[in-house]
């Protein structure tokens, strides 16, 4: 018998059970399916081959974000393979009746930025997308996770997925973040604590006073990187901050529906006394700005810390892993990352391209000049973020500081669109992955917060933002 005391993620799971059959995984219903150009074409081809329709186009939305240039949108896409993929999504959406916020839409953006900001993502929902950073939407108390293309096809055709329940894992973050320390540093610290595979098989719930104090955008930054510790999903209980953010958004419920929805959403937080399979605590009071030194997001350290010395690691494969990472990154064991010259600073991605991220970076850069040796790219997450930034005068601040301010998209987070590092180059990036070649073949990535990125842009070397606050 399952416990009558349920966690947030279990409550959402329970509410979406369509059918349970002995010997098969549970059939669960999906409330919101987000689609983009990279992981959907083969799924739409599958539907066509079977003569199937999209079951619920009203619960499906598409945008174009990964493959598109972040330069002038009035120009054609020069890469013919990318252009074909972008055109294919447009064609598929028209044929199957899926609303598409495409390249020329006023709401185009990175799928995990535009979905929440338009009010599509709501508490208690199940949300999927053919993208591992779908966990972002867990910030609203939705059970949101990435799926492969076969599952994209399953959801398009049936609005359902076959799933086994995950283990529950609570990440308790109490205390108050010090100036210069952000949501990004919380999640980088968590990844460093448990490692890149440390939460495999789990759904995370982030709780505690430091999480409650975060804005919705900060919460999205935290949940976004749940997958970087191996978790499928990461949730935060909905509260007044959530409701305040959602109220009045284009696709949020209105009037009586709103009141009904809020009443339901208030039932979602984890029951007092519900048991998690595992708990980890993080002390926000002592947290410092974090930076990664290696080739996975779990290889992180506080900005004043040193990269590890592999000679002290007993397990041979673990030791090889660190040695290989240090060799790829061109770093010396035991030395700090602080002070190392960088070639590129990238401020963007589904982790850190929202208006509050741009404001934070702009506040550091305002009235200053970036180091002329560093290319600094600022890529807003969506057309809505771009408009808001213009209203606040942020593009002028970035341009006057010497940054390259670009059009919305995934850009150099995944380097599919021509925005990329050259072999051997170093970046400080506000994105989510530092795998070998992630930002371009041979490129070397240090992951950090927008504040650390902006401070680094000014200094030309990895910098501690606290020294200029």
């Amino acid at each position: 018998m399952p416990s009558p005391l349920r966690t947030l993620s279990q409550k959402v799971w329970d509410a979406h059970l369509v059918r349970e059959e002995a010997g098969a995984p549970s059939l669960i219903y999906i409330d919101l399916h987000l689609v983009h150009e990279v992981t959907s074409p083969q799924a739409f081809s599958g539907l066509r081959a079977r003569g199937l329709k999209v079951r619920r186009p009203d619960l499906t939305i598409a945008t174009t974000d990964h493959s598109i240039p972040t330069s002038d949108r009035s120009l054609p896409i020069l890469d013919p393979i990318a252009a074909n993929q972008v055109a294919q999504l447009d064609k598929n959406c028209k044929e199957f009746g899926v609303p598409h916020y495409g390249v020329h839409s006023e709401h185009q953006g990175i799928v995990h930025v535009m979905g929440p900001e338009l009010g599509f993502t709501q508490p208690g929902m199940t949300v999927v997308c053919g993208d591992s950073h779908t966990a972002t939407h867990g910030a609203f108390g939705a059970l949101a996770f990435g799926i492969g293309t076969s599952e994209v096809e399953n959801v398009l055709a049936t609005q359902c997925l076959l799933q086994r329940p995950s283990k529950t894992f609570k990440v308790q973050v109490d205390g108050t973040l010090k100036p210069g320390v952000t949501a990004k540093d919380i999640i980088l610290a968590f990844c460093a604590r448990v490692g890149v595979g440390g939460a495999t098989g789990c759904v995370l719930e982030y709780a505690g006073s430091a999480i409650r104090s975060l804005s919705m955008e900060g919460r999205m930054t935290v949940c976004n990187m749940s997958i970087e510790a191996g978790a499928r999903a990461g949730l935060i209980a909905p509260d007044e901050t959530t409701f305040e953010y959602l109220k009045g958004r284009p696709f949020a419920p209105k009037g009586e529906e709103w009141d009904k929805a809020v009443a339901y959403w208030k039932t979602l937080p984890t029951d007092e006394g519900a048991v998690f399979d595992r708990t980890v605590t993080i002390d926000a009071d002592t947290l410092e700005p974090m930076i990664t030194w290696g080739t996975n997001p779990g290889m992180g350290v506080s900005i004043t810390g040193a990269v590890p010395d592999p000679s002290g690691i007993a397990d041979a494969l673990d030791r090889d892993n660190v040695e290989k990472a240090l060799a790829y990154m061109g770093l010396e064991a035991g030395k700090p990352v602080l002070g190392r010259p960088v070639d590129v600073v990238f401020i963007g991605s589904c982790t850190n391209s929202r208006i509050s991220d741009l404001r934070a970076a702009a506040a550091v850069l305002k009235g200053r000049k970036v180091d002329p040796k560093v290319r600094v790219m600022v890529v807003p997450g969506s057309m809505d973020v771009k408009r808001q930034a213009i209203a606040e005068g942020l593009p002028e601040i970035f341009r006057e500081a010497g940054c390259d301010y670009r059009e919305p998209g995934c850009s150099m987070c995944i380097a599919m669109n021509g925005d990329q590092l050259q072999p051997g180059q170093y970046s400080v990036s506000t994105s989510n992955r530092n795998f070998e070649g992630r930002q371009g073949k041979g490129g070397r990535t240090f992951l950090a917060s927008p504040l650390t990125a902006a401070a680094t842009a000014l200094a030309g070397v990895v910098a501690d933002v606290r020294s200029i606050l």
Partner: protein
């Protein structure tokens, strides 16, 4: 789907932990709209020089890397993105199983949907398998859920029971879900009464 059958193969060792999906198939090859042709870029940046010349030391470029159907990798294989292009590339190259001490969740699910068996073994068995001679043959029997090693040891492994049935009987998962349409319709009908703000 073609039913999965027992096979015997040599192994290709790749004893590295946390082999991520960006190594298996770098993102720049995801601009395709097809599932085909990904094998030539499997492990691209480890396999080729910038000018496209194969790196002679990389295992897939050696005789040992050719024609084997089992990849023997380190812990947390397939971490990172949800791209199903990773198992597509591996199976197109000829792999039918990856043996490791653990797998990333999304990769594991994607692999099973493409007849690529993620086989989890204990660290001890893993070390033993890495120490086997180059020409050692291993037999993977999915029905019995065993890996038979040359010394006669049968190593048992776990596999999701539903995925196993689908693989052995060639059942197509989407076809199976489509048969649940009455239950899906019933769920949608009762959901009208609860909060469903989009639909």
């Amino acid at each position: 789907m073609i039913p999965f059958t027992t096979f015997q193969s040599r192994m290709v060792p790749m004893p590295l932990n946390n082999i991520d999906t960006d190594q298996i198939i770098p993102a720049r090859f995801l601009k395709t709209t097809s599932k085909e042709g990904l094998d030539k870029n499997l492990f691209c940046d480890w396999r080729y020089e910038t000018d496209g010349t194969p790196k002679p030391d990389f295992i897939l470029n050696t005789p040992r890397g050719q024609g084997a159907q089992i990849l023997l990798a380190g812990d947390n294989f397939g971490c990172g993105s949800s791209r199903e292009h990773a198992p597509w590339a591996l199976t197109q190259f000829g792999f039918r199983a990856v043996v490791s001490t653990s797998f990333a969740d999304i990769f594991k699910g994607n692999a099973l949907k493409n007849s690529l068996i993620p086989v989890v073994v204990s660290p001890d068995v893993h070390s033993k398998m890495l120490g086997l001679p180059e020409d050692a043959l291993v037999t993977l029997d999915l029905a019995a859920q065993t890996l038979a090693l040359p010394d006669g040891t049968a190593v048992e492994f776990a596999v999701d029971s539903f995925s196993k049935t689908c693989l052995l009987e060639g059942i197509d998962e989407l076809g199976w879900i489509l048969k649940q349409t009455p239950a899906i319709e019933a769920f949608e009908a009762r959901r009208v009464l609860s909060v469903n703000t989009l639909g």
